[in-house]
């Protein structure tokens, strides 16, 4: 049975293991993926080769993770061509927008290629993961396309109005629960707080 490509959001404060979690997803499903960061942080992506997203042929790697540093494609305020190159040259794979608040504007329509990626991700067979610190970091329009949210511990106080989905209550409840477990685990000091994420399907 086939499935549609989907958008996933991973939420969690620093040190919850968001990027490691995403890496495990990629490895777990044997996908090919672009791990996009603004400046090469976090360092978990550094062992992976950086790919030149401006060349279509270089984007046809069959499997594994390729690193993309979005800052290299910045051409001024609010103009980053990383979305254009990925839109033009990448299909049938996964994109991890790691800590995307740093380079993705909350107004999706500000960049036509990012907007088009959101509209066309199914046609282009692209699974997209947004990695953020809090629900407020997710561009509002993205909620409408999202299928799954993985909720980790966050310090941020979440306002229900920031979570633009009818499942906002479930996400906030889940966050409170994960926060509680996270605090207990951290207090124990045995590193079991790392990698705690709870799934909410929208």
């Amino acid at each position: 049975m086939q499935r549609d490509a989907q958008i996933t959001i991973v939420i969690g404060r620093n040190g919850t293991g968001k990027s490691t979690f995403c890496e495990k997803i990629v490895k777990g499903i044997g996908a090919r993926a672009l791990a996009v960061t603004y400046n090469g942080m976090p360092k978990i992506w550094r062992p992976y080769p950086e790919v030149d997203i401006t060349h279509k042929k270089k984007m046809t790697f069959p499997k594994g993770i390729r690193q993309v540093i979005a800052g290299r494609y910045e051409e001024g305020r609010n103009k980053n061509r990383v979305f254009e190159h990925i839109y033009r040259n990448y299909r049938d794979g996964m994109i991890i927008w790691d800590d995307c608040r740093g380079y993705i504007n909350s107004a999706v329509d500000d960049n036509k290629y990012f907007r088009q990626l959101l509209l066309d991700f199914r046609h282009r067979m692209l699974d997209i993961i947004f990695v953020v610190h809090s629900p407020a970091d997710v561009p509002p329009r993205v909620w409408g396309f999202t299928s799954t949210v993985w909720v980790g511990a966050t310090d941020a106080l979440v306002n229900k109005s920031q979570v633009r989905t009818s499942s906002a209550d479930r996400i906030i409840e889940t966050q409170e629960e994960v926060n509680r477990i996270f605090r207990a685990a951290k207090a124990r000091g045995d590193n079991t707080h790392y990698g705690l994420f709870r799934r909410v399907d929208l």
């Binding site: 495990k24 199914r122 629960e177 477990i181 709870r198």
Partner: protein, 203 residues
């Protein structure tokens, strides 16, 4: 005894949690070795994500960024596409481009002749018909195509005649100068001859 965070997570399934943390966490390559310990929810998610994705037929319309160079497979930017569109000019636009360049050449030659007081034909650069890979003609035709420049036949005829007789005007001026010079020389010769005659009669 209070349940550990790990037990609490399991109890409140679906909660996914890496079983080990920090240095005890196995490398991601061994992800499936930990499979039995992974939370059911995560396993379900991975199973779902491992399924083949549905191939959705893209409508047969040009989407932004779809076009690629058939030889290199690289994408063609909007700017490149604009240049290619402009360079796809018609034979009529090429004819007008040649005409414009010839007239420009005549004008420049006329100005050169005027300054140097020489025959303008000496300064003509474009006399023969253009060759196949005449880049000046190609680019001029592309610009005519780009800006949708239209010429009427009347304008073209006036343009040609102006160019032709503009050159003639310079020649006329040169002829007048030559005649004046010749007349002045003839007059001088005559004066010299008369002066010599008077001088001989005085003797």
């Amino acid at each position: 005894m209070e349940p550990s965070a790990k037990e609490e997570t399991k109890k409140n399934s679906p909660v996914t949690k890496a079983e080990e943390a920090g240095s005890q966490m196995p490398p991601p390559e061994d992800f499936f070795a930990m499979k039995s310990e992974i939370d059911d929810d995560m396993r379900d998610f991975l199973a779902h994500m491992k399924r083949e994705k549905e191939v959705v037929d893209v409508p047969d319309i040009e989407m932004p960024g779809e076009e690629t160079d058939p030889e290199t497979g690289e994408s063609i930017s909007d700017e490149d596409k604009g240049h290619l569109r402009d360079l796809n000019y018609t034979q009529e636009q090429k004819f007008w481009a040649e005409l414009m360049l010839i007239q420009l050449d005549k004008s420049m030659a006329w100005i050169g002749g005027l300054i140097a007081k020489e025959d303008p034909a000496k300064y003509r650069m474009r006399k023969a018909k253009s060759e196949e890979d005449d880049y000046e003609v190609a680019l001029t035709a592309a610009l005519i195509n780009k800006y949708h420049v239209k010429f009427s036949l009347e304008f073209a005829l006036a343009f040609l005649l102006l160019g032709k007789y503009g050159m003639m005007a310079t020649k006329v001026q040169a002829d007048i100068r030559a005649k004046k010079k010749a007349a002045a020389e003839a007059a001088k010769k005559q004066q010299d001859a008369e002066r010599r005659a008077n001088h001989d009669s005085d003797r």
